[in-house]
């Protein structure tokens, strides 16, 4: 496919992506230029990977999805054994300064696998119970491994991915109710299991969300400082050098989970609104692609990726402005992290991939 054609016919989409990458780098630069530099290198790699993922037909990814999934599952186990530890979490694999976080890619691999296995599954009204059980198994095994890293956010991301796929794919009525029933029955047991396995800081976060006023300077510190950052941005923002919350290290996780808070403090309501509009453009592009796709697999891939992209943005932003609990789901393009950026770019490349091959 000629590159010129791709560029010309999807200029808005590509332009939005470049603007979002730039805004992400700018935000990282305002926090610490070292971060911007590293993230910049990742951005270049991700643009290259974006192009590669455009060239390979998306069906090839789906075809190879069992292998991709198996490799990533193995690497998750490897992380557990020989992973690189940082800030009390063991999430990374790699040599020297190049560190990969396999859990980020697991989200993609899971979606591939689910589509590969179940999209063409002949059925009348929806997935059968045994299929659903399989789908849960494929999700919960890596989710468990990831949650033990510990990385509750990414584990939740996997579950969201499954949920989105199931919603799109459809479940038969009584299966749906059976699932609900099973969940309701299993919930107390699961809760016990989960709660006892949660790390104390994870419990604190949940408690804080349930009762944020309990300890505004202690457990709710993240949310409070995040909202102080966002709120002090005002309409016009404090500018790239005026974000005091970040400068003086009041906002923990400023570069990662709370990068959107930094952006909002620096660029104010107008900036935040602009960023929301950019995200909406991408979501809209994904929506159009999915709806016009002639191939069911193309639909599931575009729709699933769009759903994951949209919910990631929404959950992270909701956390930053204090309406959702603090779970470590990074904001696409904004949060620091090479693997997350690569994942985002691959995902968007695949949406475009579907559009180029399957639509119109």
């Amino acid at each position: 496919m000629p590159a010129a054609y791709i560029l010309r016919s999807n200029s808005t989409f590509l332009g939005v992506i470049l603007v979002m990458i730039s805004l992400g780098l700018l935000t990282q630069y305002s926090i610490d230029w070292h971060l911007a530099l590293r993230q910049g290198v990742w951005a270049i790699v991700s643009v290259a990977l974006f192009w590669v993922c455009l060239m390979v037909p998306y069906k090839a990814f789906l075809q190879k999805s069992p292998y991709i999934y198996a490799v990533l599952l193995t690497s998750l186990i490897l992380v557990r054994l020989v992973g690189h530890e940082s800030h009390g979490a063991r999430r990374w694999l790699g040599v020297g300064s190049i560190m990969i976080q396999p859990s980020e890619f697991m989200k993609l691999a899971l979606l591939f696998l689910l589509i590969y296995l179940f999209a063409r599954e002949p059925s009348y009204d929806g997935l059968r119970v045994d299929r659903i059980f399989l789908a849960f198994l494929f999700t919960l095994v890596p989710a468990y491994l990831i949650s033990k890293q510990p990385d509750l956010g990414t584990a939740l991301g996997l579950i969201f991915t499954l949920a989105i796929f199931l919603v799109l794919r459809g479940i038969r009525a009584h299966t749906f109710f059976l699932t609900i029933l099973a969940t309701v029955t299993a919930l107390p047991i699961a809760w016990q299991l989960i709660w006892t396995h949660l790390h104390s800081f994870q419990k604190d976060r949940i408690r804080t969300f349930l009762n944020p006023q309990a300890d505004p300077m202690g457990l709710g510190y993240h949310t409070l400082q995040s909202m102080v950052a966002v709120g002090s941005g005002g309409i016009w923002g404090q500018g790239i050098h005026g974000a005091t919350q970040v400068k003086f290290r009041y906002l923990p996780g400023a570069s990662t989970d709370f990068a959107f808070a930094v952006f909002s403090e620096e660029w104010g309501f107008l900036g935040a609104f602009f960023l929301i509009v950019l995200n909406m453009l991408i979501i809209w592009f994904g929506f159009e692609t999915a709806m016009t796709s002639k191939d069911p697999k193309g639909f599931y891939l575009a729709a699933g990726l769009t759903g994951v992209f949209g919910t990631s943005f929404l959950i992270n932003a909701g956390m930053v402005v204090g309406i959702l609990p603090v779970v470590g789901i990074p904001m696409p393009f904004m949060s620091y992290g090479g693997s997350a950026l690569l994942m985002t770019m691959v995902g968007l490349a695949l949406i475009l991939n579907v559009r180029l091959r399957d639509c119109g």
Binding site: G170, R249, N279, G310, L314
Partner: protein
Amino acid sequence: MKSFQGLSTGRRPMVLREESLSSGLSGEGFLFKLPKTPQGRFKILLVLIGLGLGVLVLRLFTVQITEHEKYLRLANGNILRVVPLPPLRGPILDRNGEILVSNNMNFAVSLIQYGLKDNEDQIMERLSGDLGVPVAEIEDTFDKVRDVLPPYLPIPLLTHLSIAQLARVQMDLWQLHGVVIQAIPDRRYTKGDLAAHMLGYVGSLSVADMKSSYARHFPPGTGIGKTGLEKEYDSVLQGTPGEDRNLVDSQGDVIKKLPPTLPTEGHALRLTIDWRLQKVAEDALGDRKGAVVALDPRNGQVLVMASHPSYDPNMVSGTMSHQLWASLLSDPRTPLSNRGIQGTYPPGSVFKIVTTMAGLDSGAIDPTREFYCNGIFRLHGWDFHDWKKGGHGHIYLKQALMQSCDIFFYRAGMSIGPDRMAAYARTFGLGEKTGIDLPSEAPGLVPDRKWKRKRFNQPWYPGESLPFAIGQGYLTVTPLQMARLMAVVANQGTLVTPHLLLDATGASVKKVATGLPPDHFPPVREGLWEVVNNPSGTGRPVKMKEMEIAGKTGTAQVISNRGPGGPGHHKIRAHSWFVGFAPFSDPRIVVAVLVENGGDGGDTAGPVARDVFKLFYEDYIRGATPETAAGAKE
């Protein structure tokens, strides 16, 4: 397989569809119609995401626009740490510019709570060793205020460090995290115990002060006036604290120092007091208990305000030991009391001035009528004696004042009656605070029938009018009130409000016309002139060749039930008064002297007053420099 919709509605037949993109959960009988196709459900998902984005925008609007101010304030509170810097207290000068109170620089060792982790005990112990003060004492000082003050403010643990203490702490400072040495100004009273009561003293902020609306924002280590002028004019003297402003991070570590705002020194107080006159008065009082008040009868400027026994405010303001404080408080001679405004005494014969004015007004006294005093006044079968055995013989008002004849005034007092007497006493400013700019002034007491009824539930007995007429009995006054009373005689009818702050605008001068008939003053003044200048006057020890002085002596009998013989009424040595003014023709100074248990007024109090008059004459009249002459006016 049956579809849910088929089961629930039965309207449609069971349909088998080969379509791969068939609907899963669907149902018209459901709460709402769910889309049957994945595309339909994707639309719903998108709508939900869209709604979520809408909520997000609304939330951003509230946080960033509606509540922007609130969060901005929080953000600023986060990063800006303001440590107040104590200002220098304003100095206090006498009317001629002599410095009475200035500041000393002192070193204090202070502790910032932020610096403390779990090593508090260690630091306290080390400090205790360096300072030679028990640990408990340091901890006590610290614990008293640690919860009241923000944790970034240094809390003074010990002030007025000696050089040795300073050196030891300085050497250990590297291992005393959170400990700082601060330079804290404190008061220096240059004349020692001179005018100590009037000047007052400064103490450290109490916990109550730190919570009060007035002193809440004072930096730790700031002094606050506890008594006297230091208290009265504390807000003037305080000055404005400066601010040391730092940007700090969440650990409390300073990231950047901002330019500090320097403290501004408090305003200087220029007093109406003349320290030389004050000194002469205090020297003359010596070890005796008593008070000297001098004021300018034209405007109420107080020239002397002395009270003995005294104390050294330098000791009280600095590192005062608890023993010293306790001994000052428990001393039976009450050295902390400012007798000039807080001591209440019977005025004795000085009050005969009021009786005279009341008598002249009511017709009970006629200066041209001769009176015979045989030394005894008989009332309802009781004999009241004159102080002079055998009486004063044939006298007029002038002689009655001059020799302080009691019988003459008994007679007048009987016909004036207690209520009218009380009314005149109040006209002269007795029974109420003079309004001087000092805290804790006593009002004294002017009795009348109503008061007697209220206080003792008894009627006024006629026999009580006799001691009232000669300034005995229930009547009590302060030396300042006596000076003010004499000022009315000196300026012939104006009640001035005494004040201590010299004020070039004259705004602080407050005068009230008493409404007393002007032609009644000359007879009184002539009598008072005779008191001093007639060889047989009671105030003859006060007489000066250079300047004509007029005045009245008083020898106020005191009855105490704390006498040597146990409870019961005992006569103890009378209080000695002299109250006078000068120069007679153009009065510029009134002096009131009280010596507790001094005996005869003319002999004991008189010479003290004379010393003050003498120096006043030398400084203000004979060798009047333009400067001092101007200073006497307002």
